[in-house]
Structures are given as C-alpha cells and as structure tokens.
Subunit: 328 residues, 2 copies
C-alpha cells in the first residue's frame, strides 16, 4: 500500500502539501495539485483511515447495535440506517447483542475502541452502558430517556389494533402481551389494554416469555385450550401472530370468520402467510433512515428541533380480519 509519503516523494512536495491537497485545506498551487493527483493515481493511493482516525480521534465508522439480526424486523431497520450512512460516507460496524447485557457492553467497548463517531442502538438493556459515552447515541425502536430516539407509536398502534378488530366484529378478544423487558412491546400492550377497557367487550390477557416462534407457538396452543371461544387475537408481533394463525388453521378454524387476528410490525413474512396477515405496520426502513439522519445531525452539531422522533403506525388490512362491510 502506498502511503502519503510515497505520494509526496513522487510529486516532489512535502507530506503536508499532499495532505492539504487531499483535504482541501489551506493553500495549494494549482500545478502542485495536479502533480499530486497524478501521483495519487499512479500509485493507486488510498489514505489510511486508521492513521487519520488516530490523529483526529474520530473515524468514519458508526456502531449499530441490534438485538438479533435474524428477526426480520431488524435487518429492515439496519438497511434504512445503512442506506443513509452509505450516502453520507459513513460505514457501519454491526453488533449483535442478543439481548445480553454483557454482549451489549462488549460491543459498545469495541465501538469506542475503534473511534466510532456515533452509535445507533436498538438494544439497550442497561442505560448505564451509554451514560458516559462521549460520542452521540441514538436509540432506535427502543427509547431511553435523556437520549434522542426514533421509535414507532406503539401505544396508538395497540389502540388501533383493538379498534379495528372490534369494528370488524370480534367480541371476545385475547390480547397477547410481549416480554415485560421489551418496552415497545409494553407500549403496544398498554394502548391495546386501555382501548379494550373503554370498549364493551370481554377480553383475556396472555403474556409471552419471548418473541421466539417456539414460545409463541406454545402460547398459541394455550390460548385455544384456555379460551376456546376467543374470536379475536391481538398479537404482540407478527411472529406471534403467525404462530396463532398456524395453530388456528390446524384446529380447523376459519380465518377470519371464526377468528380475527391482527399482528404488529408488518415484516415481509406477513404478506406471505396464508391468509395474508392483517397487521399494524411499523415503518422499519423509514425508522432506520430517520435514526441515521438524526445521528448525522448530532455528529455535525446541527440544531435538533425534535430529538424524540415518533413514527406513525398504520393498519394494514389483509385477510385475517373481516371486511368492514361484512358486519355491523
């Protein structure tokens, strides 16, 4: 690999001049610049980011912390982040925290040790890991008070799901509650619960241990045993909804006539289920983009009007809910 010294030698100038030419800082004569550019081309010189980063104490890397790459919701977020960062010349170090505080902390340390210029975290289990960081941090999907965040309006989403399922005729509703430790899941739950209390319907609540399909599946079986007359399920996410849907079909229920189901997230899977799943959509890709834009503003010290960006959710009507016209 050619270094800046090689370029300087070839162009017959000092390294300082080359550096100035590279960064468009200070004065460089037009002829000199031309000579330098030629030398750069001939030597196929690329500046060493590591050296630059060491002096500047800032790299062009962004740390992105996800709880689980395999949950399709997160790659969607990641893709949004990646697209914006790529455009702006930043690169991503991605970490998989696996919902484990030590792994999370390990990655944060790695990020810091590599001079990342900012961090986006969709996985904060413990606030203290972030408290003393000197680089800007944006939380994505999950929130943590003093920090800027981008998240979907889960509370409204929960309410929306209940309103839609009731409007379409469910009378005995089962509400799935996501893992207690996942705050966004609790927001949805809270919204749904409030709306259920306001409405004139019977309902049950069932809490899931995790978002894993396996747990959801177990939960599904339990629902049909304990509450066989349920005619509407609000799931805590689409994976859970898929499990319920599966189990219902196995039991010979007609969807949506015997049972309506509404999920949450709108992952790519949802439209491919049969019947396609009605769900509350979180704009994951857009959320990723917004988080990236917010972080870039923070990095550039631009003024922020709003550092808690709440994204709207929407009801995606597919075929696990009845058509509104079909019922009263």
């Amino acid at each position: 690999m050619a270094t800046i010294r090689d370029v300087a030698r070839k162009a017959g100038v000092s390294v300082a001049t080359v550096s100035r030419a590279l960064n468009d800082k200070g004065y460089v004569h037009e002829d000199t610049r031309k000579a330098i550019n030629e030398a750069i081309k001939e030597l196929n010189y690329k500046p060493n980011e590591v050296a630059r980063s060491l002096y500047k104490k800032k790299s062009r890397l962004i740390g992105l912390l996800l709880p689980d790459i395999r949950n399709p919701f997160f790659p969607e977020l990641a893709r949004g982040v990646e697209d914006i960062m790529q455009e702006s010349g930043y690169r991503l170090i991605i970490g998989n925290a696996d919902e484990k505080p030590e792994k999370e902390n390990d990655y944060i340390q790695t990020f810091i040790q590599n001079n990342v210029i900012g961090i986006i975290s969709a996985s904060h289990t413990e606030k203290k890991h972030y408290k003393h960081l000197t680089c800007p941090v944006v939380f994505l999907d999950r929130t943590s008070e003093p920090f800027p965040s981008v998240f979907a309006d889960g509370y409204s989403g929960g309410k929306m799901a209940v309103r839609e399922i009731i409007r379409r005729g469910s009378k005995r509703i089962t509400l799935l509650r996501g893992p207690i430790e996942v705050k966004t899941a609790q927001d949805r739950f809270k919204g749904a619960l409030d709306e259920l209390c306001r409405a004139n319907v019977d309902f049950n609540v069932m809490t899931m241990a995790s978002f894993a399909y396996h747990d959801a599946s177990k939960c599904a079986k339990e629902i049909f045993e304990k509450f066989p007359d349920t005619d509407g399920v609000i799931a805590s996410n689409d994976i859970a909804a898929a499990a319920i849907l599966h189990e219902a079909i196995r039991k010979g229920k007609l969807i949506p006539n015997d049972l309506q189901i509404i999920g949450f997230d709108d992952i790519p899977l949802s439209g491919l289920l049969f019947p396609p799943l009605s769900t509350i959509k979180q704009p994951a890709y857009e959320m990723g983009r917004e988080a990236a834009k917010l972080l870039i503003k923070l990095i550039n010290n631009e003024p922020i009007q709003n550092q808690m960006i709440q994204m709207p959710v929407t009801f995606i009507e597919r075929q696990t809910t009845r058509k509104v016209e079909e019922n009263g």
Copy 2:
C-alpha cells in the same frame, strides 16, 4: 479516555512495561504487573484499537459483504459468521453491496482502509475487486475460483428436489430458474434439469428476473396461465415458492393434492407458510460459521486441508408435498 501513558504514570513505570503487561510479552515483574492492573482498573483504561491497528497494520475487524440484508437468508449467514467471530475476539464491519459492483468495490476499499484482517464476501460480482487484496478472503454462498469458499451443494439440491417431487407423484413439472447472474441459483437449476432429463416426466422451465417477491409473483401468475396442468413446481428459492403457493391457493388449488411445491433455502418463513413449505434446506447458519472458521485459519496461517467447503443440503418435508405412502 485514559491512555497507556496515564496508566504508566499512575503505576510508576514506562509505557513499554505497561504494553508488555497488557500483551503478555517479555518480562514483567509480578509486583509491577499488579500495580499496572490496579492502575488500569482505577482509570478504567481500554487500549485504543486504532493506535494498535496503525502500528500492527492489522485490526481485529473482519469485513463482511452481503448482497442484501433484507433477504432473510443473509442475516442467517451473518449470524453464523458473527457468532464465531465474536468468540474469537473479532468484530464485523458489514456492508450491503446490493448486487452493485461499485458499492461492492466501495466497501472493499473501506475494509482495506480500516485495516480489516480478513474479508468474507457473499457478494462477488467482479473477481478483479478481490484479486490484489493482501488480506485473506473467503467467499460465502457464492464461489470464485482461486479463492477459498463455503457453499451449499446446490447441484445435488436441485436433483434432490426433482427426485422427491417425482417420488411423490408429480408428472408435469415446472422448473423455475433463478437469475442467470447468480451462480448458486444456476447450480440448483442445472441439478434439477439433469435429473428431470433422466426421469420420465414432462417439464417446463421458466426463468425469473430476480429473487424479489414482486418478480416471483408475476412469474407465478404466468405459470398458471401457460402451464395450467402443472402438478409440481420446483422453485428457485423459498421466496419464489411462497409466491407460487400464494397464487395456487388463490386459484383454489389444493396443496399438495393438485400441486406439489418444493422451495430452496429453508428460510425461517418457510415453516410459517400455510401449508408449511417443503424445501431443500441450505444450512445457512452453519455455512456462516464454517466460513468464519476458515477465515480465522487463513488469518492464523494454519494449514487448510480443504479450501472449498461444500455443505450438504437436506430435504425438509413439510406439507406442500404429499406423504410418500399416499401414492405409488
């Protein structure tokens, strides 16, 4: 952030001694070591990876290049890579090449500029990008001749799919062919084609423009128009299979009685479809792990017995194929 100099000062020794203590190199007196460790703890010192990397010309970062994080197959690979790398103390920079040669090259440059110690690429569009790299490269899922690779046995997979579908009674088979530029898709196709030729059945071939659901969906409609009497479809991947399945159900076909479908990949989605999709499984997570292990060996200059690791595929029998007993 505390530096090695702060530690040295606090412990009353020179930086060289601290460095030796940190890296377990050369002689360090037990008492000195203790004092240093204390200083490190008190100052909460973490070595600066950037400085280390500058001197050593090697970081602890691995570049992982994916064609598309949103295709669930790739996060699965990534997770396998990540788990192994994490264990061995390496970290990942992930890039999304989007099947675009310039983006691919951009990322490779970034990797190099950040002193990555190795690269795993699941996205080689042009061999020349990799030719002159000085760090080890492993290809994952796709192969490129002189380079070490980990990939699934697509050819056998294709044969296997045909054998299984015929064994279960399909007589008029439609074979979907994946995008020409994706070599692994062509391997599957080739395997399936060879086996179809050998068998005593009618068949058609239809080529897909891309693996996107949208294209697959269009393709599905076309199949049922052009070849209405098809009673078995070998899809080029599970996304395509899902599209076919969807369309078939919409047309009122009974699956698997009227039509059998076999996919390829076994992404998490596949088991959640209705009916659950029979498919040829690629061990994606394992492939990621193997690629990571192979790269680590290359990094450590360990002897490699086999640098083309072909992973076996397996037939996952779910419910888009008939039970073997049910037919002759």
